[in-house]
């Protein structure tokens, strides 16, 4: 929780117009009912805080929380340390669907916020992709290893990305808009986007967190989970649907931000043990804080220009993924 507060204050304070964190913290407290503090910020600064930076930080918290939660859930459901919304192709499926809506739907104003149809289309794309990956990954039969599933995910990703490239080429007028979204952006986020993502965030978080104990049971395999009184397939489908919904909402709001779903749950696992009862809630919290802080780096490192946040997470995530691969090698061989 502390990490979220730090991320909140840092995220709102830092930027092209820097403000003292103490004053920002006071202004944020003012948003709570019944609190009236004199923060000493000017009216313009207050507008920057409440209308520009705060929604952006909140969206970062929601999207980061969703990606990390979805990653942790996929890792449990597939009993695979490498599972993540991106490696499974889920994000690519959602990405293709969003591209299709933007390119074919002809929304031209990039600042207008997202059409309500976008998350729904993304959800269908995400479900389609995860189903495909699951079927392809399971096609190897009993001998399938964690690597098989990830290879299937990579194939599905490539397939959907190809579809996306084709769409973009046919509708080159929307390339600029799609790309600014694709590379990961929290930049244009206003309260509109936050409100759009919030219901999906709540639904995903409630479903996944309520079933976190079942992920521990699933970790002993389907046969043993059945003999412990579980319906493994029923739990699995429900959790896959919830994680895919979360991924879809995250992708529609902020484009393709990779590696959060793998960095955060693994770090939590190292710090707090292997039980999903602990991993999932902590992943959600740290995932949110992680993305909000990454966004601070993205908009200050090369100020006044912004680096797409997806680029920053990939720069951090690439080396991290290699580390995970090394520790997961026992599982893969």
């Amino acid at each position: 929780m502390l990490s979220v507060l730090v991320a909140l204050v840092a995220g709102v304070s830092l930027g092209p117009v820097s403000m003292p964190p103490g004053r920002v913290a006071a202004e944020l407290l003012n948003l709570l009912p019944g609190v009236h503090l004199d923060s000493g910020l000017t009216a313009g600064e207050i507008a920057i805080v409440t209308q520009l930076r705060l929604p952006r930080v909140v969206l970062g918290l929601l999207v980061g929380g969703l990606l990390a939660l979805a990653g942790g859930a996929y890792q449990g459901v597939f009993r695979n340390p490498l599972a993540d919304p991106y490696l499974l192709g889920v994000a690519a499926g959602a990405g293709l669907a969003v591209t299709a809506v933007i390119a074919l739907g002809g929304t031209t104003d990039p600042l207008a916020g997202l059409p309500v149809t976008v998350p729904l289309a993304a959800f269908l794309g995400a479900l389609g992709a995860v189903t495909l990956t699951y079927l392809l990954g399971a096609a190897g039969g009993k001998g399938r290893s964690p690597a098989t599933l990830i290879l299937a995910g990579v194939a599905v990703s490539a397939f959907f990305s190809a579809g996306q490239t084709y769409l973009l080429q046919r509708h080159s007028d929307s390339i600029q808009q799609v790309y600014s979204w694709l590379l990961g952006r929290l930049a244009t986020a206003g309260w509109h986007d936050v409100l759009l993502v919030l219901p999906y965030f709540l639904l995903t978080a409630v479903v996944v967190l309520l079933h976190r104990r079942e992920l521990d049971v699933l970790s002993v395999g389907d046969d043993e989970a059945t003999s412990l009184g579980l319906h493994p397939q029923r739990s699995r489908y429900l959790l896959i649907a919830a994680a895919s919904l979360g991924t879809a909402a995250a992708v529609s709001a902020s484009g393709l931000i990779g590696f959060v779903g793998i960095i955060v749950p693994h770090t939590v696992r190292l710090l707090a043990g292997s039980s999903y009862r602990v991993i999932l809630p902590l992943s959600m919290i740290f995932g949110g804080a992680f993305l909000a802080l990454t966004d601070v780096v993205a908009r200050t490192a090369a100020a006044p220009a912004e680096i797409p946040i997806g680029v920053v997470t990939a720069l951090l995530g690439g080396p991290f993924f290699v580390l995970v691969l090394r520790t997961a090698r026992r599982v893969l061989s």
């Binding site: 079933h211 002993v220 395999g221 003999s227 412990l228 009184g229 043990g273 009862r277």
Partner: protein, 265 residues
């Protein structure tokens, strides 16, 4: 340990069980009765269908109306209710990476914890009691993967006991253990069975050990029961020669016949 003739239903009753997997018949017309408190071990050559029979009794295979547990048809039981009656120790249980002994044994309480709820103090009390009982209390924080084979087998048993089930299914419970640990684990099972009035249905490869611990043996070959009864009736040189194609001497032992392999010539 046969029931006192109270007329209560047997712990396990299998009537005319047929199982076909991938088009191939695995079990054909199997009948099996295990009385409450009895220890029955299923023996038979590789591929005879021993594990499949245990899976069917444990509810892991659709067994139709063929299997009843304490008089209730398996089909009529919901998974959680079934898990409170029958606990299984698989042949080579999955060892989840990083999971502690305590968390692992706590999984045994799954059928008692509400689907969306969390474990109660009573659940934890049961777990600690079982850990104590199996001399595992000192291990509760250890990672399961770091334990030795014998210790792990005790943890697997502990999870099954935490389920509070009266029927224990053990699929090759000792195949991964050296001879000393085999005896240790089986003595423990026998002791627990007497103390908690458990019924045990096991599969085993070592025939002498199978005969020493079981009240009755069931010899399975090609998916059919070819002999059943006290160890002295099942462990005979003729039956083993016919169904295992094994050359053995059977010598009387203190707790049952001992089967000694003999080289040809």
């Amino acid at each position: 340990m046969t029931p006192a003739g109270t007329g209560s239903a047997p712990a396990v009753e299998v009537r005319d069980l047929h199982v076909t997997l991938g088009g191939a018949p695995i079990l054909t017309g199997v009948d099996l009765t295990v009385a409450t408190g009895e220890w029955v071990t299923v023996i038979g050559p590789n591929g005879a269908g021993k594990s499949t029979l245990l899976r069917a009794v444990g509810g892991l295979l659709p067994a139709g109306h063929a299997v009843s547990l304490s008089g209730t048809p398996l089909r009529a039981m919901r998974p959680r209710a079934r898990a409170r009656v029958v606990a299984t120790v698989a042949q080579s249980p999955v060892v989840p990476a990083g999971m502690s002994v305590l968390d692992y044994v706590l999984l045994g309480r799954t059928p008692y914890i509400p689907p969306l709820g969390r474990e109660s103090a009573a659940d934890l009390a049961v777990v600690y009691e079982v850990l104590d009982r199996l001399d595992l209390a000192a291990f509760h924080g250890r990672e399961l993967a770091t334990l030795s084979g014998g210790e792990r087998q005790r943890v697997f048993l502990a999870r099954a006991l935490a389920q509070g089930a009266s029927l224990l299914l053990l699929d090759e419970p000792t195949s991964a253990l050296d001879i000393g640990h085999q005896q240790e684990v089986l003595e423990l099972v026998d002791q627990l069975r007497r103390e908690h009035e458990l019924t045990v249905l096991a599969t085993m490869h070592d025939l002498s050990i199978a005969g020493e611990y079981a009240d009755r043996l069931v010899l399975l070959a090609d998916g059919r029961v070819v002999a059943a009864g006290p160890p002295t009736e099942v462990l005979t040189e003729e039956l083993l020669a016919t169904h295992y194609r094994a050359r053995v001497r059977v010598v009387p032992g203190e707790h049952g016949p001992l089967v000694v392999p003999v080289r040809a010539g």
